[in-house]
Amino acid sequence: MVNFRMLLSAVSLSIAMLSWPQAGSGAAKSCVENMNDIYKRVQALDMDDNLTNVLAKASVRGKAQEYINDTLPAFKAACPTEANSIKDLENGNYLKKLAAEREKRRKAFARIKAASGGFSDGPGEDRDLEDLEVQR
């Protein structure tokens, strides 16, 4: 049974390696380009997850993690040169980094808001900003 599983995985990896676009092969993307695409996609899905979390007051990373789980194994086999980036995604560091950046932005904006005397972002809030005279 173990041998059969090993065989299956070897075959699947070989196919993945063959089917993954190689660097310099015509219009096909290089490993670096594909890695960047994966990063961008993870970033977008993470943003989507965050939005869902904010709305639902939850804390999950469903879509981003799912995408990583689905994409990485085949990519890992096809692009061993991207091992560091793959590891970054696999161990969750990249998602942690995204969350940390988001938190940094949130706190930065909160301080900017506090230093402005507080304001709401409702409709019509910008109207007073159009007055040409700024009191100093």
Binding site: S19, E90, G92, K96, E103, K107, I112, A115, G117
Partner: protein, 417 residues
């Protein structure tokens, strides 16, 4: 999907799926536990808390006329450093949702360095045409360096309204001091109600102060004050061309005199006294823009920026042999600012200088008038000659026709018709 490819693609999919399943335990092992999936800022939080404290403490203890904390100078430095970093963080997101918050921050913070960085942050995000109305006030900050930062913020955006704004605002001279609006009353010039002074478009030394009007119409205000007008800008320039020329000439003469005086001075040695040398260079720079060229930028009313300006002459005085519009208001639309605006203008040169400039221009005027009279006379003579020639030609034609008819009649008679 093409039919011929279906089985192989399906097979590849199945094999990959099986392969993935076989690797699943590895993936699961590599996946971070659910608890770690929450925003992982644990390590960063203490620093952020410290920064939150700095901002909160400064706002609580050091804002207002009587600071409660003796350590406010130190706290101010930390407060500014923290917010500068925050502005950079928000700017580097290139996320437009922060623009109005940053503009509000800009309007409410007295710290010059923070206003400069807020302008940079908005530039990094990239403003759009829809932001113009809230960005315009930033270009009219009382501090030149802040206006300079706003001037550099605008080109980072894209759009026709931003391009127009970029064209309207000029590059600023450096400076960190808060400018005060010039009091027009000192020059006995009237200011329309609800006007806002424009720093960058005003220079009392050149006799030009600019304003925009929040509400209402500057035209009706100046109409009630006008001694003459309204004139269209080109009509005004034509009507008072000699007077305006005299003023330019008098300014140029004053500039030359100041330049000669400065040339006769020994420039300070920068190695010995840098401060005196800088002052000397500033004086030199100021003299170089003292002439009529320095005033020119205030008197160029490009149609795309100002529409079709109207002039109201507020005062006209007889100086020497001419009557000069010594005070006037040019009323227009500030198209880049999307508001009505006007510029107060008055003569800054002394009457004697105008009289001196008049000598040459009167001679020129007389020559021009004589030339015009002569060319008018010539034109009239030419017209008379032309009319005479026409009449002569007509007479000749009539005579020829008569002769021809007579000849024809004689021939008919001879032939017996």
């Amino acid at each position: 999907m093409r039919t011929g490819q279906s089985p192989s693609v399906t097979m590849t999919g199945v094999v990959i799926a099986l392969g993935l399943l076989s690797h699943a335990p590895l993936l699961w092992a590599a996946s971070p536990p659910a608890a770690d999936q929450r925003p992982a800022t644990a390590a960063a939080e203490p620093a952020d808390d410290r920064e939150d404290q700095i901002v909160a403490n400064y706002l609580r203890d050091c804002v207002g006329k009587a600071p409660k904390n003796a350590n406010c100078d130190k706290l101010r430095n930390d407060f500014v450093a923290t917010l500068k970093e925050d502005l950079f963080t928000l700017g580097s997101t290139a996320d437009r949702k922060y623009i109005s918050g940053l503009v509000r921050f800009f309007r409410r913070r007295p710290e010059i360095e923070l206003r400069i960085d807020a302008a940079h942050a908005i530039g990094m995000i990239g403003p759009e045409d829809s932001d113009v109305n809230i960005l315009v006030p930033m270009t009219n900050d009382p501090v030149p360096d802040v206006r300079y930062a706003a001037y550099h913020m605008i080109p980072h955006g894209k759009g026709k309204a931003l391009d127009l704004l970029k064209e309207r605002i000029a590059r600023q001279n450096p400076g960190r001091e808060i400018e005060k609006p010039t009091d027009a009353a000192k020059f006995s010039m009237p200011v329309a109600p609800d006007s806002v002074y424009l720093y960058e478009s005003s220079d009392a030394t050149r006799g030009r102060l600019s304003y925009v009007v929040r509400k209402g119409d500057a035209a009706s205000f100046f109409k009630s004050k006008a001694k003459k007008g309204p004139f269209k800008w080109n009509q005004f320039k034509e009507q008072y061309r000699y007077q305006l020329k005299d003023e330019d000439e008098a300014m140029d003469q004053a500039q030359q005199a100041a330049g000669k005086k400065l040339e006769s001075e020994q420039p300070p040695d920068p190695a010995k006294n840098m401060e005196a040398y800088v002052a000397y260079m500033q004086k030199l720079g100021s003299v170089s823009t003292q002439g009529s060229m320095g005033k020119m930028m205030f008197d160029l009313y490009q149609q795309n920026l100002y529409g079709d300006p109207t002039v109201y002459v507020l005062e006209e005085r007889q100086i020497g042999q001419r009557s000069y519009p010594t005070k006037y208001a040019v009323v227009y639309q500030e198209l880049a600012f999307k508001r009505p605006g006007y510029r107060l203008a008055w003569t800054t040169v002394p009457d004697d200088a105008l009289k001196a400039a008049q000598v040459a221009s009167l001679k020129e005027q007389k020559e021009e008038e004589a030339h015009q009279a002569a060319s008018k006379k010539n034109d009239e003579a030419a017209k008379k000659r032309e009319a005479e020639l026409d009449s002569l030609t007509k007479k000749k034609d009539d005579a020829e026709k008569k002769t021809f008819k007579k000849g024809q009649s004689d021939l008919e008679k001879e032939l017996g018709f």
